[in-house]
């Protein structure tokens, strides 16, 4: 059925569209909740979070790759340069990466972060799991990185969950805007 703005004008206090979008980012479905569409909020929020959790269950928390952190859970600093010994007029890159370079390497993290603080917490857990339990004894991480399909599919799940939340928060903000303008 086609979407109609007037069908959604309900009796609840008017909330500014940016606030609706922000609430939808902080907690999936919260934008609809603020608009008074509680059943829609619950269905959308629970479904999106379930997709995210399924992604983590399928591949483990280490499928979340946090930009600016490497496979060992260590922070990647800004690019470092040294003078090239072979050609003193040339600078030689010896390490580090910019945020843009990291996002280019892990573009799915842009989609994943659209689910809000859930992604931030999962990213934190992923960094924690990437570090060894006791570096003095072993350099083995707490949890392994999944490979092949067991990495691809969970990344797809989490990225789809993030993109669905983006669609949802845009829709909620659009409805709030229509309500503001009285359409």
């Amino acid at each position: 059925m086609a979407w109609s703005a007037e069908a959604y004008v309900e009796k609840s206090p008017a909330v500014p569209a940016p606030l609706i979008a922000l609430a939808g980012w902080v907690l999936p479905g919260a934008g609809y909740w603020l608009l008074g569409q509680k059943s829609r909020a619950l269905v959308v929020g629970i479904t999106i979070i379930c997709i995210w959790i399924m992604g983590l269950l399928i591949g483990g928390v280490r499928v979340i790759e946090v930009p600016k952190f490497n496979d060992q859970g260590q922070y990647i600093g800004p690019p470092e340069f040294r003078v090239n010994p072979a050609n003193r007029q040339q600078a030689m890159r010896v390490g580090g990466a910019t945020l843009i370079e990291e996002l280019r390497d892990k573009p799915w993290s842009i989609a994943q972060v659209m689910i809000g603080p859930v992604a931030v917490v999962s990213g934190g857990l992923s960094i924690y799991a990437a570090r060894p339990a006791d570096p003095a004894i072993s350099s083995e991480p707490r949890a392994p990185i999944p490979h092949a399909r067991m990495w691809e599919i969970p990344v797809l799940y989490t990225a789809v969950a993030g993109m669905l939340n983006l669609i949802v928060l845009i829709d909620a903000a659009h409805r709030a805007r229509h309500r503001e303008s009285g359409v």
């Binding site: 109609s4 829609r40 269905v43 928390v61 799991a129 599919i153 669609i167």
Partner: protein, 82 residues
């Protein structure tokens, strides 16, 4: 207390190791398609009571599309291999 800690560790373990479903990964298509269908239709429907029927319809359309895409790719691979 110990049982609660063991349970927490057990649940935490679920999020550490990948689930062993090698060779059956196509099953994972179903929950994702269902989730996408529910969220998509939850945005589109006017009344939420219309959602279950509408979401199931979209779910089967997505599956049909996936099967069609798989069949087309299989045909291309088969033709390329001749």
């Amino acid at each position: 207390m110990n049982a609660a800690i063991s349970l927490a560790y057990g649940l935490g373990d679920l999020f550490v190791k990948p689930i062993p479903i090698w060779g059956q990964v196509w099953i994972l298509l179903l929950p994702l398609c269902l989730g996408v269908a529910i969220v998509y239709k939850a945005i589109r429907v006017r009344e939420m009571r219309q959602l279950p029927k509408a979401a199931i319809g979209v779910f089967f359309w997505i599956l049909l599309g996936m099967i069609g895409a798989a069949a087309a790719l299989l045909l291309i691979v088969w033709l390329a291999g001749r």
